[in-house]
């Protein structure tokens, strides 16, 4: 009994930290751009394939593959934001356009991975290797080392981002833009630049979490959607625009998911997250910490 509870607590926490990482990326982007980016999940997916490409085909080392992939996805995100997402005349149009872009990414990857144009690659389903092998025991619970490192890296990235936002001029500019585009531009801050930088940050955050989580999951072009769903669920439940809320909601969802995986039925995991999201949207659309929805 005790071991079960400990498993639940430890694994839930481990998962929660990583959830915080990728949902904060999504949340930041929403806060600054005012737009929900429908391609976020696709970017998450693209990182995995990039790592696979660099590591498996180009035979680069693990670290090099990861760093290159992060750079790659950051570039994609940057270009997407500059040339695609910003073309939407309203937040709705932008969401629409980014969703279309997500499909383009998905089908591009699908085509490159396996098609009559690239027949050989069909034999090798994509995967992201386990970078750090072995496991350690935390409070008597066996946790994969990779997840432990993932948590450490996540914390480092989150703290760095937080420092960036609160201490540097760029960061303060970003925060100003997230509060009021008009006011920010009146004092000389360029909202577009802030949005572009934020999209780079968000891509790196999504990519980092993706790299660590993907080793223990299947990788296919459609995984982006469940990630987008999860990030959206977390951000909405925590409250759009509230960074604290995102943290809280990340852990709530991580614990729920762990509980279902451990004690109920793994198949229900996605369904429960979605159901919870729908319930929250009905009862309290602004989430736990969010401001009133106008």
């Amino acid at each position: 009994m005790l071991t079960s509870i400990l498993s639940f607590l430890v694994l839930g926490t481990v998962l929660g930290v990583v959830y915080v990482l990728f949902s904060e990326g999504f949340s930041l982007l929403y806060g600054v751009a005012g737009v929900l980016n429908g391609a976020y999940g696709a970017l998450y997916m693209v990182v995995d394939y990039a790592v696979f490409l660099f590591f498996f085909y180009l035979k680069l080392g693990a670290v090099a593959s990861i760093l290159l992939s992060l750079a790659f996805v950051a570039a994609v995100a940057f270009l997407a934001q500059k040339y695609v997402a910003s073309r939407g005349r309203s937040p709705l149009e932008a969401l629409f356009i980014t969703l279309a872009f997500a499909f383009v990414l998905q089908y591009s990857v699908q085509f490159l991975q396996c098609s009559s144009a690239f027949p050989e690659s069909c034999q090798y389903p994509a995967f992201v290797p386990v970078f750090i092998t072995g496991s350690t025991s935390i409070l008597g619970v066996s946790v994969f080392n990779q997840y432990v490192i993932a948590d450490l890296v996540s914390v480092v990235v989150l703290v760095s981002v937080w420092l960036l936002l609160s201490r540097t001029r760029t960061g303060k500019g970003i925060r100003a833009v997230s509060q009021d585009h008009m006011a920010a531009s009146l004092v000389g801050i360029n909202p577009e630049r802030a949005i572009l930088i934020t999209s780079l940050l968000a891509a790196v955050m999504a990519g980092t979490s993706s790299v660590f989580l993907a080793s223990y999951q299947t990788v296919d072009p459609t995984i982006g959607w469940s990630v987008l769903t999860l990030a959206f669920a977390i951000v909405v439940i925590g409250g759009l625009g509230s960074l604290v809320g995102t943290v809280v909601a990340s852990f709530i969802l991580a614990f729920i998911r762990t509980y279902i995986l451990l004690f109920v039925n793994p198949l229900l995991a996605d369904f429960v997250s979605l159901a919870l999201l729908i319930v929250v949207l009905l009862i309290r659309p602004q989430g736990i910490f969010g401001r009133e929805v106008s």
């Binding site: 929900l36 629409f96 499909f103 383009v104 699908q110 085509f111 769903t229 959206f232 198949l267 949207l281």
Partner: protein, 310 residues
């Protein structure tokens, strides 16, 4: 409510194109028995109905429904159940599927229509995905219903049913869109608060649009299941939610003609472009096409053609 479907002009280019498309679909059946061609046009009819259903709700009221797979899948499963467990004939099953889709749609709509903007998009997107997950878990045999065999070999019946549903929905939706009711729907898209201030019960009209959309989506979902012989969770898949949206955006949202044009172009190219390397890239080409249209022709093809008029 009948006083709202008044004052409709039928001598418009839009209506002529609709009639021409229906005529085309009928002609195909008369002119050829090539199963491949009939199969493609069946798919065109299926996606056409979905696109039309999307347009009458989202194109007109502005509530962008990304979950059309839900009534589609529900209709399919209801028809499968009716056919295999209760022994209803295909026609009755199809109608039942439509009615059932409205019913289930009430639940989905009552919850989601209260939300605005991106919340509505995301919730509607998620409902069919959640349903598919649930079915995978709840039903044995991978969540599917097998043995829906009454029409599997009767491609003629399937095609006729699909075209009939397409014709009915196209004409009905045209009448809705270009009548006073259509004006009310469009006022919801333009400025919902102002519409309320003028005494328009927007909740009621949103549910009406939603129900119209669901009825036909459910029926065509039933036809789809009959043609496959199986109802499976993939019927709730993203493809059935997203492709119709693509087709409307391509053809022109809110015009009723747009979806038909978009469907013929998109589905036609997906299926007929069987040149070697292009074949597997079909979906990629389709989504690129969509992206380009969204970026450069926000009003779609028909919208671009008609851009001079008010």
């Amino acid at each position: 409510m009948s006083h709202l479907i008044r004052g409709i002009k039928f001598r418009t280019s839009s209506f002529y194109v609709i009639i021409a498309s229906i005529a085309l679909l009928v002609a195909v059946e008369v002119l050829t028995t090539n199963p491949f061609v009939v199969g493609v046009f069946t798919l065109i009819a299926v996606y056409g109905v979905l696109a039309l259903s999307w347009d009458v709700l989202s194109g007109l009221t502005g509530y962008l429904n990304f979950g059309l797979a839900f009534p589609f899948g529900v209709g399919g499963y209801l028809a499968a159940l009716a056919s295999t467990r209760v022994g209803l004939g295909p026609a009755e099953s199809i109608l039942l599927a439509g009615a059932g889709a409205i019913g289930f749609g009430f639940i989905a709509g009552a919850t989601s229509l209260r939300l605005r903007g991106h919340f509505f998009i995301m919730v509607t997107l998620l409902i069919p995905l959640a349903t598919a997950d649930f079915l995978n878990y709840a039903l044995v045999q991978d969540g599917s219903i097998f043995g829906v065999n009454s029409l599997v070999n009767d491609t003629a019946y399937v095609y006729n049913a699909a075209v009939a549903i397409l014709a009915a929905s196209a004409v009905l939706f045209y009448m809705v869109a270009y009548s006073r009711l259509g004006l009310i729907f469009r006022s919801i898209r333009e400025n919902e608060v102002a519409a309320e201030a003028l005494g328009i019960n927007t909740a009621k009209y949103k549910m009406l649009a939603f129900s119209l959309s669901n009825f036909f989506a459910g029926m065509i979902g039933a036809v789809y299941v009959f043609s496959n012989g199986v109802a499976s969770p993939t019927d709730f898949g993203l493809l059935f939610s997203a492709l119709p949206v693509f087709m409307c955006a391509l053809g022109g949202m809110g015009t009723i003609v747009g979806p038909i044009i978009g469907t013929i172009l998109l589905e036609g190219s997906i299926d007929f472009l069987r040149i070697n390397y292009i074949q597997d890239a079909r979906l990629l080409i389709a989504s690129l096409l969509l992206l380009l249209v969204l970026l450069f022709f926000p009003k779609g093809i028909w919208g671009y053609i008609k851009r001079g008029e008010s």
